[in-house]
């Protein structure tokens, strides 16, 4: 398994880990400090003990030294350093001895190696120097020394009475006790550290989860907002009224407002639709009414003069023209209304079929067509509406520059979208009319129905695409259609089956 860089870790992991690390760090630092302090205290204890025991022996040694009562000296030394004695240091007493001023042994804890009455053994010059130091020291002292790789605390206490020194008590305690007691203390401290670390970490995990959960909810909510889904947002319930709580409240408010806005927009769209339908109905009525009036007029005249045969060749073409006009209007409307007809999917090549129709449309007009279809077979499109859209736009462009000009058609893919551009260098559309070009029955051509661009607009909208127009008067105009790739991709399997 690959370790992901911490930068990509979730906050739900990072936060507890940080808290655990902080708690453990603090606990460890405190623990180490306590252990270090404990260790120095234990060492101090040991030194005090060494001094205390040596003083205890020294206190009763004076008389015994004067009386050569070696047995009492030995018993005092032995009992003071035995575990049941006041010192309680049996295991630590590395050495204990009473020496006279000449350095001879008066009592020793290891009499078999250091016989009474003989000078303390030790040919080692450092030991001789030590003995000299010991003898010269008329005051109690304690120090830590290392010998033979071992460490011990040594106390030296002179045996004195009224200023006269008759000998010294030397006691050495092993520092092993420091290690064992430090280890014991360390075990306790580490135990406490672990317990508090675990408690602190658990608390940290709890706190961080509590903090991260609303953040996750916020992220989910925002993702839903980003998708335009305003309905499935569940209001986040912040537990605390802190910064995160405020963030959640603000988000809730924003989501609510967005949902409200969407609702208003939908209502507006419905009413717009109604307006559009009304306008279409009015348009249809108006557009149909004009030829109807003419045709009725013709019929009326024919009926009035039934015997005048010259009327028929005069009026029939007029009636026919009127009917054609009505049919064109109805057909335009039908294209819009038969939206749910079966969809035929094909690749970009299906747009080539439109080219022939366009060439027919151009006929003898002085219009130059620049056709460039770069959609390969890797893109599939809904052929019917796409062809209609292209045909409408190109026909419009041809009409726009019918007195001479260039019409360019370009189809290509960009960012997973199918883009169709139709450009002409005709007179262009004035700015004030630009926003009306997609309205039904809006036309500036005497023979136009005003439905072509409107139908195109509806078709593009149906394919979830957008259509935009750029124009400057005198510079021609450019229509651009974008059909989202997502829609294409979703539809692709159907294509393959078909």
């Amino acid at each position: 398994m690959m370790i992901v860089h911490p930068r990509y870790w979730k906050l739900g992991i990072k936060l507890p880990l940080t808290i655990i690390a902080a708690v453990a760090g603090v606990a460890l630092t405190v623990g180490l400090a306590v252990i270090a302090q404990e260790r120095s205290r234990i060492r101090q204890d040991l030194e005090e003990k060494a001094l205390l025991v040596a003083r205890g022996v020294s206190g009763i040694a004076y008389e015994a030294v004067l009386r050569n009562d070696y047995w009492s000296l030995f018993k005092a030394l032995s009992s003071m350093t035995s575990s049941s004695g006041p010192g309680g240091v049996s295991n630590d007493a590395v050495a204990g001895m009473v020496l006279d001023v000449e350095g001879r042994v008066l009592a020793h804890l290891a009499p078999e190696n250091h016989p009474l009455g003989l000078p303390l053994l030790g040919a080692d010059p450092s030991q001789r120097q030590w003995l000299k130091d010991v003898m010269q020291s008329a005051t109690s002292r304690v120090r830590t020394i290392h010998q033979d790789g071992r460490e011990y605390v040594e106390s030296v206490v002179p045996i004195q009475s009224n200023g006269s020194t008759v000998g010294v008590v030397v006691l050495r305690l092993s520092t092993q006790e420091i290690e064992t007691r430090t280890a014991a203390a360390a075990v306790i401290v580490i135990g406490i550290v672990l317990v508090f670390g675990a408690l602190g970490s658990g608390f940290g995990v709890y706190i961080s989860r509590r903090m991260v959960r609303p953040l996750n909810d916020l992220a989910d909510g925002m993702a839903a907002l980003g998708k335009g889904d305003f309905t499935s947002i569940v209001p986040i319930r912040p537990r605390d009224h802190d910064e995160i709580g405020r963030l959640a409240e603000t988000f809730n408010r924003m989501a609510g407002e967005l949902a409200e806005k969407r609702q208003l927009e939908q209502q507006l769209a419905v009413s717009e639709k109604l307006v559009a339908v009304g306008r279409i109905a009015a348009g249809v009525a108006h557009e149909v009414n004009n030829p109807l009036a003419g045709m009725l007029n013709c019929l009326d005249t024919i009926r009035r003069y039934p015997d005048d045969p010259s009327l028929i060749p005069r009026y029939f073409p007029m009636i026919e023209k009127g009917l054609h006009r009505i049919r064109a209007i109805v057909q335009g409307l039908l294209i819009e209304l038969k939206g749910d007809s079966a969809e035929i999917w094909g690749d970009g090549g299906c747009l080539e079929d439109v080219k022939d129709l366009v060439l027919v449309e151009i006929g003898t007009l002085p219009v130059q067509l620049h056709w460039r279809n770069q959609l390969g077979d890797s893109y599939c499109v809904n052929c019917g509406p796409m062809q209609q859209v292209v045909l409408n736009l190109v026909k419009n462009a041809i009409q726009a520059c019918r007195d001479g000009g260039d019409v360019a058609f370009r189809a290509f893919s960009q960012d997973d979208q199918v883009v169709v551009e139709v450009e002409d260098n005709g007179p262009g559309i004035p700015l004030e009319r630009l926003d009306k070009v997609f309205d039904p029955f809006y036309t500036n051509r005497p023979d136009g129905t005003g439905l072509g661009l409107w139908v195109t607009y509806r078709l593009v909208e149906k394919m979830a695409g957008i259509i935009e127009v750029e124009s400057e008067p005198g510079q021609g105009c450019l229509f651009r259609v974008r059909i989202p790739g997502q829609a294409l991709r979703r539809q692709r399997p159907t294509t393959e089956v078909a």
Partner: protein
């Protein structure tokens, strides 16, 4: 056992009559001095012995311990104590006027006698007291027969001047501690009462196993119980009956068993002639 039992039985019975009749007639304490001749550390035993004696004396009894023989002898001299269990050496010392009488003599291993042992550490190479020249030697008490007088006489018997023979000597004032001093090698050798050494051995006292006996003296009279001559005669009689009668009853025998003694017998001053001779020889050569 050479001494008849029947007579002592009668004496014991006589002694018990006033015990029953005149209870609490006299509440004065009877003080008994103890020295290093017995292992004094067994406090439970002395408490039981005290109660045993109190029943038979009809008087409260206290055992009084002092470190050295000399201190106990002084207590006897001043009348601080009425009875004491002392060593034969202080007993035979001449006093003017004499203020001590023998009260009873313990019987150990069938005889009212004991010896002095010279002991060394179990692992040491010494085979006689003569090998201990220049070593450290532990005496028990300067007034002890077995722990001082006898070992010194053994050396003089070998033609050795005891004072210059050892490198160091010290007194432990307790035979049991002499054993300990040797066992722990504070002293290379020591002189102890044979009774104490055997007692420790029988009671499986640990340090005694670390020691071995490399020399034995002749037999001497066992450290006796003594009474102050000017003391209450009736009390002395009752005390004597009490200790002599110990081996006649169950409680007494149990106490004697704890002491590792067979019993107490009537005094016989001639038992201590051996010590007297020794003292005369030693002090004749040096002290007097």
């Amino acid at each position: 056992m050479s001494i008849g039992l029947s007579r002592r039985t009668v004496l014991a019975m006589i002694g018990s009559i006033p015990l029953a009749v005149g209870a609490k007639a006299d509440e004065r304490l009877v003080r008994v001095g103890l020295t290093a001749v017995v292992v004094r550390e067994n406090l439970g035993f002395f408490d039981r012995w005290r109660r045993y004696l109190e029943l038979r004396l009809d008087r409260p009894v206290r055992f009084v311990q002092r470190r050295s023989y000399r201190e106990v002898m002084e207590l006897l001299a001043t009348g601080e104590i009425d009875f004491a269990w002392i060593c034969g050496y202080p007993y035979v010392r001449r006093r003017d006027p004499e203020y001590l009488d023998l009260l009873a003599i313990p019987v150990f291993d069938g005889e009212p006698r004991y010896r002095s042992y010279v002991i060394v550490h179990r692992d040491s190479p010494y085979r006689s007291v003569g090998d201990l020249g220049g070593k450290v030697f532990a005496y028990s008490d300067p007034d002890s027969n077995s722990g001082y007088l006898v070992p010194r006489s053994m050396l003089t018997g070998l033609g050795i001047q005891p004072d210059a023979f050892f490198r160091l000597t010290f007194f432990t004032y307790n035979h049991a501690e002499t054993v300990e001093a040797v066992a722990r090698r504070v002293a290379d050798g020591g002189a102890v009462d044979s009774y104490v050494w055997e007692y420790l051995k029988r009671n499986r006292q640990v340090p005694v196993d670390q020691t071995k006996v490399i020399g034995q003296s002749d037999e001497f009279g066992f450290p006796p119980l003594v009474a102050r001559r000017s003391g209450d005669a009736e009390l002395r009689r009752r005390m004597q009956n009490a200790v002599l009668g110990m081996r006649e009853d169950v409680d007494g025998r149990a106490l004697l068993a704890e002491l590792a003694l067979d019993g107490f017998v009537e005094p016989d001053d001639s038992l201590y002639d051996g010590i007297r001779n020794l003292e005369a020889r030693m002090s004749g050569g040096r002290l007097r």
